[in-house]
């Protein structure tokens, strides 16, 4: 049984939302081991909550917004819940809603990270992002 999941978020039909689908494709060619499962999360937000069940670690791969003035290649966000007091709770609440809802209803709560890159980043980063996700999922690496 898997103890960790990598959930790749994004719309494969829109190029600017490339990170999750590209990471999903990269992970398809990597040995995952028996402890890790990879899921194409698509456009789902709160409906991915059930994928946290029974997990010790969950890594979300997604396109990142923000910090245009100080662009980064790859960002690894640990404890992403605490960093998101702002809340969108319409139909497109998405990952932020999920991350804030999870501690309220998910017991025990898995350790969670968000890993990604900006939409404008080099697509060759998909492979190192995938490797980062895998290391975190296996509990073999700390973000830095």
């Amino acid at each position: 049984m898997p103890r960790a999941r990598i959930i790749c978020i994004g719309n494969p039909y829109h190029p600017a939302d490339w990170v999750g689908p590209a990471v999903f494709a990269e992970l398809g060619g990597m040995p995952l081991g028996t402890d890790v499962e990879v899921v194409d999360g698509g456009l789902h937000g709160l409906n991915l909550l059930c994928l946290l069940d029974g997990m010790e670690r969950v890594v979300f791969a997604d396109t990142l917004l923000g910090d245009d003035e100080a662009p980064v290649d790859i960002a690894i966000l640990e404890d992403p819940v605490a960093g998101h007091p702002a809340l969108s709770f319409d139909h497109a609440g998405g990952l932020a809603f999920l991350l804030q809802a999870a501690p309220l209803v998910q017991h025990p709560l898995p350790r969670m990270w968000v890993v990604g890159a900006p939409a404008g980043a080099d697509r060759a980063l998909a492979r190192p992002i995938a490797r980062n996700c895998l290391e975190l999922a296996h509990g073999r690496a700390q973000p830095h």
């Binding site: 978020i9 994004g10 719309n11 494969p12 039909y13 829109h14 600017a16 939302d17 990170v19 899921v39 194409d40 999360g41 698509g42 456009l43 789902h44 937000g45 709160l46 409906n47 991915l48 909550l49 059930c50 994928l51 979300f60 997604d62 396109t63 990142l64 917004l65 923000g66 910090d67 960002a75 966000l77 992403p80 960093g83 998101h84 007091p85 702002a86 809340l87 969108s88 709770f89 319409d90 139909h91 497109a92 609440g93 998405g94 990952l95 932020a96 809603f97 804030q100 809802a101 309220l104 209803v105 968000v114 990604g116 939409a119």
Partner: protein
């Protein structure tokens, strides 16, 4: 008469892809314009692809109604291949659909609609503190319980679809995944638990007791009959909604459209409501006068839409989706087209479904008072009361008839013209396709929010929620909660978006969608 002013209503909390402009005069909205701000383009994306690709591509249109888009695409392919699906395949499709509807209805009501009663605009109301304790986002008791319980209902779709998310189990002729009896029993346990929670928290009574509420007078008796009724989520909706005047807001265009929901298996103990081959009837109503539905009467106008290529109304099979890459000029102001039935705008959703289906409570409500924001929301919150028992019956029938086919393999390749119509949680969803030599040469999708949030048509007629906004009082233009109630009562969903994570903590989305 006051000064007439144009106000941009900050409705981003309703939907980020939606912009509402209203003209306010004397503290009331006197005109309104609804604009979908982003071009979607799935129709053009499908052109040239193999017909079966629609089963994979169209569920990606929406992260909420994926199962319903899959169902519409599968029904369209049923028609294109000339196959009648196996009874068990129909049952599995229906159970997944109804589970998605029940989940969506409760989530929208508690997590998106009721939160407005925790708005500071109501701070002086005697029920405000209690309302906030119950419905404040991610803190209110009902809010948290709703997240917890609706999460489990997804398991039904996961089991029946063989995976979650992106279950692509519906295909022409039925379904590909054959759940075993243990899995079906598990589904019954999940829905049974949800039903008990729904009865206790949402209704405050049994489904059987609620089924006896068949008029506005009976609704009053029900509300006063037991403290548990008044203290249920439904009881709170009624009490808070009346206090906020929702029963006098948002009348709309007075026309109602339903495509029907859940095709009936040939042999079942479930009884269809109303005429027709589906559990929930298809039809078109002017007021409460219902007529038979014929998809040939559906047409789309682009008179006020940011598209080019034709004038007047076009049936979707003849439709064109050619976006105009120009700025909003005030005339062509939306990337939504304007769907019309027999040339008229029509609202769609749970209230429309109830009116078309002749449900006594809502027929009485609309015939006496007309539609309003409270009626729409009550219809949505109580719809699972009708669906949950049917889910259980069809699950039991699947167990009893497990040896019967789940799929009839089509003998013909998809070709010609076809359509798949079904009510999504938010209303009428249609897929129309033209296929030649196995390839899609035309695909048009009309979503529920395209109906409800449509712009004006070639004749200048407003869309349903544009019309519903007219007459709405606005006490504070900086916090137009009244307009929010009206729009949200239609359950707008423009979530054909891509999601991205904002690491600055200012949100969660990167949008590309439209209607």
């Amino acid at each position: 008469m006051g000064e007439r002013r144009i106000v941009e209503v900050p409705l981003n909390r309703v939907e980020g892809d939606l912009e509402i402009r209203v003209a306010v005069e004397g503290g009331r909205i006197v005109d309104a314009w609804s604009a979908g701000t982003l071009y979607r383009g799935f129709e053009n994306m499908l052109t040239g692809r193999a017909a079966l690709d629609a089963l994979v591509v169209t569920p990606r249109i929406c992260g909420i109604c994926t199962t319903t888009h899959l169902n519409a695409a599968a029904k369209c392919l049923d028609a294109l291949t000339g196959v009648t699906p196996a009874d068990n395949g129909i049952r599995v499709r229906n159970i997944a659909l109804l589970a998605e509807h029940a989940q969506s209805d409760v989530r929208q009501a508690i997590l998106m609609f009721m939160v407005d009663f925790a708005n500071p605009a109501y701070a002086d109301h005697p029920l405000f503190e209690q309302a906030r304790a119950r419905f404040e986002p991610l803190r209110g008791s009902s809010s948290i319980e709703t997240i917890r319980e609706t999460k489990r209902l997804i398991e039904v779709i996961a089991i029946l679809g063989g995976q979650w998310p992106h279950s692509s189990f519906m295909v022409p002729g039925g379904v590909t995944n054959l759940p075993n009896t243990a899995e079906l029993t598990n589904c019954r346990a999940v829905t049974g638990r949800f039903r008990r929670w729904y009865e206790k928290q949402v209704l405050g009574c049994s489904l059987e007791r609620w089924a006896g509420v068949d008029s506005l007078a009976a609704l009053e008796c029900w509300l006063e009959e037991d403290p548990a009724h008044a203290d249920s989520d439904l009881g709170w909706l009624l009490r808070l909604g009346r206090a906020a005047g929702l029963d006098a807001l948002g009348a709309g265009c007075g026309n109602f459209l339903s495509y029907g929901l859940a095709d009936m298996p040939a042999d079942t103990t479930v009884t269809a409501r109303g005429a027709g081959p589906s559990l929930v009837a298809a039809g078109f109503a002017r007021g409460t006068q219902v007529s038979a539905f014929d998809q040939a009467h559906v047409g789309e106008s682009i008179g006020a839409s940011r598209y080019e290529g034709y004038e007047g109304l076009r049936h979707p099979l003849d439709g064109l989706t050619r976006p105009l890459p120009v700025a909003d000029d005030g005339i062509r102001y939306s990337y939504s087209k304007a769907p019309r039935y027999d040339g008229a705008p029509a609202e769609t959703g749970p209230l429309a479904e109830a009116v078309v289906g002749g449900e006594p409570l809502f027929t009485d409500w609309v015939s006496r008072r007309g539609a309003d924001a409270l009626a729409r929301q009550v219809a949505r919150l109580v719809r699972p009361a009708r669906l949950l028992p049917v889910i259980d019956t069809w699950l039991a029938e699947l167990v009893a008839r497990h040896d019967e086919p789940f799929i009839v393999n089509p003998r013909e390749k998809p070709d010609g013209e076809g359509f798949g119509l079904v009510n999504a949680a938010r209303g009428a969803l249609g897929h129309w396709a033209r296929v030649q030599r196995g390839r899609i040469v035309g695909y048009q999708i009309i979503t529920p929010t395209a109906w409800n949030g449509s712009p004006r048509d070639d004749n200048g007629a407003r869309g349903p929620w544009e019309e519903a906004l007219v007459g709405t009082p606005i006490a504070d233009e900086g916090n137009p909660v009244e307009a929010g109630h009206v729009i949200r009562s239609f359950d707008p969903c423009l979530v054909c978006t891509v999601h991205a994570f904002d690491r600055r903590g200012r949100g969660s989305r990167f949008r590309v969608g439209g209607f």
